[in-house]
């Protein structure tokens, strides 16, 4: 058996048992598991090749060619192999821009609207797993919109998938495990890293200490410590950074920061920023899945039961898109969500699926040990989540400043959605992805309310811009015809 790669939307089946969105560890594992359980499965992914972001270009890369990517990256070969050998359909370079849950005769199902190769089509499935992964939390500082500034995740993607190393003097700034991992990869690949600015607040160590014991048995402990020591031997590291500003006219030329009460400035050719990752929940949000605030990870995530089922019964969420846990937890989470969906579809297979579910749930508990320690230690400083520098741009698309948002917040704006209509923040092409976290945190800060109470933007489909001609060419539903013409007859 082997994966069936679909090159054209016309070759899709009319209906699948399970559709999976995203080909990272959660999506690939979910597809393999569902296909093995006998479900007619399709995986749709926006990228040209499987791997997601964490295992980006895993199919093409080899330890011989790019050894510096490290052992944790090569672990992706296992789940990739299972995916490539499974009996599922795979549609790459496909954007799922809308998902709707429907109900016929008491049975729920979903309708996916998919854009691929300049055309849109509708895919029907009985259940769907969102494996949409994580994105980097925005790190709004003055000058972060200048060319020469990117996220650390972006620099790592360039290295993994294109063998691109930044030219000239590089500074990394921010907090989180990726900061040191990428520093090490960059040094090994021959990058000129001139400084690392660690914004992890010193006070986080005291807060994280009570959660240290479970982390002591985590496989990440020794690796993490070794990495820290290695990077610190090679590069000047500045700790407990409170403020950062990127300087330049048409591109970044220097980075200014405060360390130990002193202001320092370093000339740069590029700066890469990182404040951890948050669930990429645009699709879940736009589909109408309930979201909940995770106060430890400081982000909104879909409300899920222990097996990944969302508030909409046909929709499951697996991997980092449902809550940040890392690649290995995502992989197991994908298996659990796929099995839970199969159990729902094929109750007669309970005797086979039940023990498998129990096994993977146990494995996930083991892999999740130490997570609280990491989350607490690397909780981003308030100054980068809810910036106070009034000139800093919060919404990059519509160029809305922190000052404008703080001003509106002080005038008792009700929440993020009202702010949108007032200031246009979140109304540009990124549809709020790059500012929603900042907006929620600033409103919470100014109005002294909890982020859970403030909420987040209510998103609408399409979750990314789609050309009007693609909408127009979709088959019409009787409801759509009636909405426009008032005619009840079915003209589709």
């Amino acid at each position: 058996m082997a994966l069936r790669k679909i090159e054209d939307l016309h070759l899709l089946d009319r209906e699948y048992d399970l559709a999976i969105i995203g080909a990272g560890p959660a999506g690939m594992a979910a597809a393999a598991q569902a296909a093995a359980a006998g479900a007619r499965t399709i995986l749709l992914d926006e990228n040209p090749a499987p791997g997601g972001q964490i295992y980006r270009s895993i199919e093409r890369n080899s330890p011989a060619r790019r050894a510096f990517l490290g052992k944790d990256y090569w672990k992706g070969k296992g789940v990739l192999k299972a995916f490539l050998q499974c009996d599922a359909a795979y549609l790459p370079q496909a954007l799922v821009w809308s998902v709707e849950q429907g109900e016929t005769d008491g049975k729920v199902s979903v309708e996916l609207r998919v854009s691929a190769g300049g055309k849109s089509s509708i895919v029907h499935a009985r259940r769907v797993v969102f494996a949409t992964g994580a994105m980097e939390r925005p790190m709004p500082v003055r000058g972060w919109t200048l060319p020469g500034v990117m996220t650390i995740g972006a620099a790592q993607i360039a290295l993994k998938s294109s063998g691109l190393v930044p030219d000239g003097r590089v500074v990394l700034a921010g907090s989180g495990p990726l900061l040191y991992l990428f520093a090490d990869q960059l040094l090994q690949a021959g990058g000129n890293l001139v400084a690392l600015l660690d914004t992890t607040p010193r006070s986080n160590w005291a807060k994280a200490l009570p959660f240290l014991p479970p982390f002591l048995v985590s496989p990440y402990l020794l690796k993490g410590l070794a990495l820290l020591a290695k990077v610190r031997r090679s590069v000047p590291v500045f700790n407990d950074i409170k403020a950062i500003e990127i300087i330049g006219q048409d591109r970044a030329t220097a980075i200014r920061f405060q360390a130990k009460g002193r202001t320092e400035e370093i000339d740069i050719d590029s700066a890469f920023l990182h404040q951890g990752v948050v669930p990429n929940n645009s699709l879940a949000n736009a589909t109408g899945c309930l979201l909940a605030w995770n106060d430890r990870q400081k982000c909104f995530q879909p409300e899920l039961d222990t097996r990944g089922r969302s508030s909409l019964p046909a929709i499951y969420v697996a991997g980092d898109g449902g809550g940040i846990g890392g690649a290995l937890v995502a992989e197991v989470g994908g298996r659990i969500a796929a099995l839970a969906a199969c159990l729902d579809l094929f109750p007669e297979k309970a005797r086979r699926i039940g023990p498998l579910l129990a096994k993977h749930e146990k494995r996930r508990r083991v892999l999740s040990r130490g997570r609280t320690f990491i989350d607490t230690l690397y909780q981003p400083a308030a100054t980068f989540r809810a910036p106070t520098d009034l000139e800093t741009i919060a919404c990059r698309c519509e160029e809305v400043t922190v000052g404008a948002i703080r001003d509106a917040a002080a005038r008792n704006v009700v929440g993020p959605n009202q702010l949108k209509t007032m200031l246009r923040c979140g109304m540009g092409p990124c549809q709020g992805r790059m500012c929603t976290a900042t907006i929620t945190e600033i409103l919470a800060d100014v109005q002294q309310r909890s982020p859970a109470d403030i909420g987040t933007y209510r998103l609408r489909t399409p979750i990314k811009p789609v050309p009007l001609r693609e909408f127009a060419s979709l088959p019409l539903t009787p409801d759509a015809v009636q909405a426009v013409t008032g005619d009840h007859s079915d003209r589709s």
Partner: protein, 99 residues
């Protein structure tokens, strides 16, 4: 802004704002341009300020360019193809073409 540390098996010919260049076959448009030392791909919609690819994973929409006449394409999500004509964008897209 970036240099390549290894080479792909083949290259394709593309143009950026009319300038011809050969780039490695496996790259996205954003990666291909970055490998040629080109980072500013457009100017912003409100303040007309230079902008460059930021996230390289399809979420920030900073790398919007016009590809073969279609505006607002995500350079980081589009793989290069032989003969591709890419152009930078100035401010917001216009309504009369490519919608």
């Amino acid at each position: 802004m970036f240099r390549r540390i290894d080479k792909a098996a083949d290259t394709v010919a593309i143009t950026f704002d009319g300038i011809p260049m050969r780039v490695d076959i496996e790259l996205t448009v954003a990666a291909a341009l970055l490998s040629q030392g080109i980072s500013t791909l457009r100017t912003s919609v409100v303040g007309d300020r230079p902008r460059a690819p930021y996230c390289l994973m399809g979420v920030c929409f900073e790398c919007l360019v016009t590809i073969d006449g279609v505006q607002n394409r995500q350079a980081c999500m589009t793989v290069v193809r032989d003969g591709m004509a890419i152009s930078s964008q100035s401010g917001a897209r216009s309504l009369d073409e490519g919608c």
